[in-house]
């Protein structure tokens, strides 16, 4: 049948029906292929575009972050001189807008507002290359805008644009009396058509950056801890190590071989501690193996081996089981098995209750709980010698070269040579800074404190200018001049010309090395309320109490080439000086102080007002067992005079300043000896706010709740704490001396307290405090 149909005449119609179907199918396939291809292209291009956009976004963000880094660096850089103000607090300024856009602030040339100096600093960097583009300093509180800066002109499509907005409203830091203003920084990164923005706030405040700042060499002895940064601007080699530190764990009697262990540990540090923080980093396998081979362990498991681990290894036990760091040292652990006494009660007190046992409320959990452990260091979990950074002007290589000549200051205990860096720089540095110990620091771009930065006149003005009133043993509200002295009975006062006068060396308690001898008027058992001690009094005060403000006067113009003459006659004869050229040179200051009229200077011959420039023009005072309940301030001579302007505090002298918490002592070019040489642990004191001295030695037990500033550059060094044999020239007994059997080493605790506002009268720049927690990526 099919054949019939095929062969039928109707059969030719079929090819017509199928004609073109192949082409149609082909076209359909092509269409499908095209659609597929188009979608592939679209998909692929989408991928590429997403990837490109992602790249641009990343690059834009990196540019924005680079811009912020650049901005903050410019703000902190040496060429950006932040404005100097004399007010202790920004809120004390009458017009805080000056901080932003002011010029010639405090009438000081080139002392300009932040926006002005920042714009100038950025322009000086020529971030736009040879282009004439520049940033313009704004006026008032207008924002500072910085035109787009290329990351790398010609090589990168990325750029950033910066702006800073000033908020002049003053605020107080949390739980603080320090005020601040805010600068809002913005950096917009751009790459092709994509932009990203990062923002961050910078607080601006008047505050000290350092717990201890010194222009002379600093010595931190046994049982001295510092919380806060240390700055040493002394770059020379003539005064020993710019910062000498002595281990707290020396002089522990009958404690086995800890001194030898410390010496071995120092030799390991010399090889493996490239950061000079006196810790062995356990992530360095070679160092860790060497430490293990020497028998040392990371007992507290913090990733480092330091002196605290050595102490835990020697005396510690599991005092807090279940904690990450369960180890501590109890009082019974820390008891000499032969004597039954603590190895060092002062060291225990320094770690467990550095501000004394009676602080309420306790400043931290575990305070004075009878255990030395991780809780006693809220920052690093290690009771470190320095919890903070150390900044030194001296380059490390300079120190290394000089170290062998500094054995006098080096630790020789445990058969060490004393002539290496590690013998001279002991104790743990615990810091969160990327550069915990920094050498060769250029302080010109940072806060620098010289005597001329201080103006103490506002404190002197707190004391009336009239003669002080006298009522029995109370002297009040005025100058301790001849009129006032005439009213004091001999029970309380003996003049320098009387038999009750005191003739002694200065300093009085040293066995050798005194600088002069004085015959002093003597004040005993007197209560002074707001008094001014006149120039040339050179008195001895015994068992006296000073309430309110105490202002000490002295000749402020230390001159070279001046003319020395006398005035008056008999007991009122006194040396006067005239003419000459003011100097700030401490050597010239010594020469000035040793000038005599009608006599020859000798450190062994008692100076008098009739013969000595130092006596008549300066004020060398000796306070024994006195109590200071307010600030003690002095004039600021142009130069450090060594002994002419020098104060000594000994006996049971105590400081308990309740009048002005911003300052306890401000005596910028005065030499201060504080604490007995023979019983370092005898004088517990709390010095609040700033303590400013030309030079200061502190022994005893003291808590400085603020900052110690040593402005002078003439003294040999600032000695803080007990050093034992290396301090013998000053009459300090050796630990093995019989005189040390019943006395202690004392301890000193310095804690930077930025919650306490600064006192008025210190002309230093405000500081910028980047608030990294405010860092935000927008868009």
């Amino acid at each position: 049948m099919n054949r019939t149909l095929i062969n039928s005449p109707a059969a030719p119609a079929r090819p017509r029906a199928t004609r073109g179907s192949t082409l149609m199918l082909t076209l359909v396939y092509i269409l499908m292929f095209s659609a597929l291809a188009s979608s592939m292209v679209a998909f692929s291009q989408g991928n590429v575009m997403v990837q490109a956009a992602d790249t641009d976004q990343k690059v834009a963000l990196i540019a924005a972050e680079s811009g912020m880094s650049f901005f903050v660096s410019a703000l902190q850089g040496a060429t950006t001189k932040l404005p100097i103000i004399t007010e202790g607090n920004i809120s004390s300024m009458s017009n805080t807008t000056l901080l932003w856009s002011g010029t010639k602030i405090e009438n000081i040339t080139n002392n300009n507002g932040i926006a002005v100096t920042l714009a100038s600093a950025i322009n000086s960097m020529k971030p736009w290359g040879s282009s004439s583009t520049s940033a313009t300093a704004p006026s008032g509180t207008s924002p500072l805008s910085v035109p787009a800066i290329s990351i790398d002109a010609g090589n990168s499509p990325a750029s950033f644009t910066l702006s800073a907005t000033y908020d002049p409203t003053t605020r107080l830091f949390t739980n603080s009396s320090t005020s601040y203003v805010i600068i809002h920084l913005k950096s917009i990164g751009q790459c092709n058509n994509v932009s990203r923005t990062v923002t961050m706030d910078v607080d601006v405040a008047k505050e000290l950056k350092y717990a201890v700042y010194s222009n002379v060499a600093i010595q931190l002895g046994k049982n001295v801890h510092v919380i806060g940064d240390i700055a040493s601007t002394y770059a020379g080699t003539g005064k020993g190590p710019p910062i000498q530190m002595f281990s707290d764990f020396h002089y522990l009697t009958n404690s086995g071989n800890i001194d030898s262990s410390l010496a071995t540990f120092r030799s390991l540090l010399a090889t493996y501690d490239s950061a000079h923080v006196n810790r062995i980093d356990m992530s360095n396998a070679v160092a860790a193996n060497a430490a293990a081979a020497a028998g040392f362990k990371d007992v507290n498991g913090d990733g480092y081996i330091d002196e605290w681990d050595l102490a835990l290894q020697k005396f510690g036990s599991k005092t807090d089981p279940g904690q990450v760091d369960p180890y501590g040292i109890t009082k019974s652990n820390f008891t000499d098995p032969l004597t039954g006494k603590p190895y060092d009660a002062d060291l225990f007190g320094l770690v467990d209750a550095p501000m004394g046992p009676n602080v309420s409320p306790a400043p931290w959990t575990g305070y004075n709980d009878g255990v030395m452990d991780y809780q006693d260091s809220t920052v690093s979990k290690v009771p470190a010698k320095v919890t903070g950074s150390v900044k030194l002007a001296i380059p490390y290589n300079t120190w290394q070269s000089a170290a062998s000549g500094w054995t006098q200051w080096g630790d020789t205990i445990g058969n060490a040579t004393g002539g290496t860096f590690n013998d001279q720089f002991e104790g743990t540095i615990a810091s969160t800074s990327a550069t915990p110990v920094q050498f060769g620091v250029d302080f010109s771009g940072q806060q620098t404190l010289a005597p001329q930065n201080f103006d103490t006149s506002s404190y002197d003005k707190q004391v009336p200018s009239a003669s002080a009133t006298v009522s029995g043993s109370t002297v009040s509200n005025g100058t301790l001049d001849a009129t006032a002295l005439a009213k004091l009975s001999s029970t309380y006062y003996s003049s320098a010309n009387s038999s009750g006068a005191v003739t002694e060396h200065s300093p009085a308690s040293v066995s050798s090395g005194w600088q002069a001898t004085y015959t002093r008027p003597l004040f005993k058992n007197i209560t002074f309320n707001n008094v001014r001690i006149p120039q040339g009094l050179n008195a001895a005060f015994q068992n006296c109490t000073f309430n309110g403000y105490t202002s000490v006067k002295m000749n402020t113009s230390i001159n070279t080439g001046d003319t020395v003459s006398t005035t008056g006659s008999g007991s009122s004869k006194t040396v006067v000086v005239s003419g000459g050229t003011p100097t700030s040179d401490p050597s010239a200051g010594m020469t000035w102080a040793q000038q005599m009229k009608g006599a020859t200077f000798s450190a062994n011959t008692a100076l008098t007002a009739a013969t000595s420039v130092a006596y008549s023009q300066g004020n060398n005072l000796h306070f024994t067992s006195c109590t200071f309940n307010g600030p003690l301030t002095a004039d600021c001579p142009t130069a450090y005079t060594h002994f002419a302007d020098s104060w000594e505090f000994d006996g049971t002298t105590a400081f308990n300043n309740t009048v002005d918490p911003t300052v306890t002592i401000m005596a910028p070019n005065t030499n201060i000896e504080m604490g007995g040489f023979t019983n370092p642990g005898a004088n517990p004191s709390t010095l609040v706010g700033v303590v400013v001295a030309g030079n200061i030695d502190i022994r005893g037990t003291a808590n400085v709740d603020g900052s110690l500033i040593v402005t002078g550059n003439g003294a040999m060094n600032t000695t803080l704490g007990y050093f034992g044999s290396t301090d013998q020239g000053q009459g300090v007994p050796k630990p093995t001396d019989s005189s040390m059997k019943n006395i202690t080493y004392g301890h000193l605790f310095f804690q930077l307290n930025t919650n306490r506002s600064m006192p008025n009268g210190i002309a230093i720049p405000v500081v910028s405090l980047p608030q990294y927690t405010s860092y935000a990526i927008n868009d």
Partner: protein, 190 residues
């Protein structure tokens, strides 16, 4: 039965001839169609294959770039917490001490000349599965008085901003081919 049909041979032959002619014509059209279709399909397939190749290459490049940027970002992240320069030596370029592994370098400037192969992650750990990749770092001081120019003195203490350039390369035919470069600024911030 079938013999009676050829009784009229002429119309049948004519029809047969027409049919044969028509069939031949149809056969020719199909061949033409098929040939044309083959050409079209062939061209299309070739184009698609070419397209696939290009698209694959684009995707591959995108993947490579993404990997390269990820590796560059790793290094940037790793260096983020480091100091600007050495606490003791101050400004420098390159490692202070070659004997110290990079994991103990404390500043960004030490990374000048650093090459990581295999590359490292943001924690400094080696990425062994990316052995055909490497990260290389160049650090340049920005001239303090002309930011866009590189300072020629490695120890110039006046420099406070550095340009950090990370180039990520992939091994191809035995040689390193740069895939991506990331550049940022590291400033001396306290």
């Amino acid at each position: 039965m079938t013999a009676s049909k050829p009784s009229s041979p002429a119309p049948v032959a004519a029809r047969a001839t027409r049919f044969a002619r028509a069939t031949r014509r149809a056969r020719g059209v199909s061949m033409m169609e098929t040939a044309l279709a083959t050409i079209l399909v062939g061209v299309s397939v070739l184009a698609v294959v070419r397209l696939i190749t290009v698209v694959s290459q684009q995707n591959f490049v995108a993947q490579e770039t993404t990997t390269a940027l990820m590796l560059a970002d790793n290094l940037r992240e790793y260096m983020k917490g480091l100091a600007y320069n050495d606490a003791i030596a101050g400004n420098h370029l390159g490692p202070i001490n070659n004997a110290i592994p990079f994991t103990q370098w404390t500043d960004v400037q030490s990374f000048n000349g650093f090459v990581a192969n295999p590359p490292i992650d943001a924690h400094g750990q080696t990425l062994a599965n990316l052995a055909d990749w490497q990260q290389s770092v160049t650090v340049k001081h920005c001239n303090p008085s002309n930011f866009q120019i590189t300072d020629s003195l490695a120890t110039d203490s006046a420099c406070t901003v550095d340009r950090v350039i990370v180039t990520v390369s992939c091994k191809s035919n035995g040689s390193w081919v740069p895939i991506a470069t990331t550049e940022w600024l590291k400033a001396n911030v306290q």
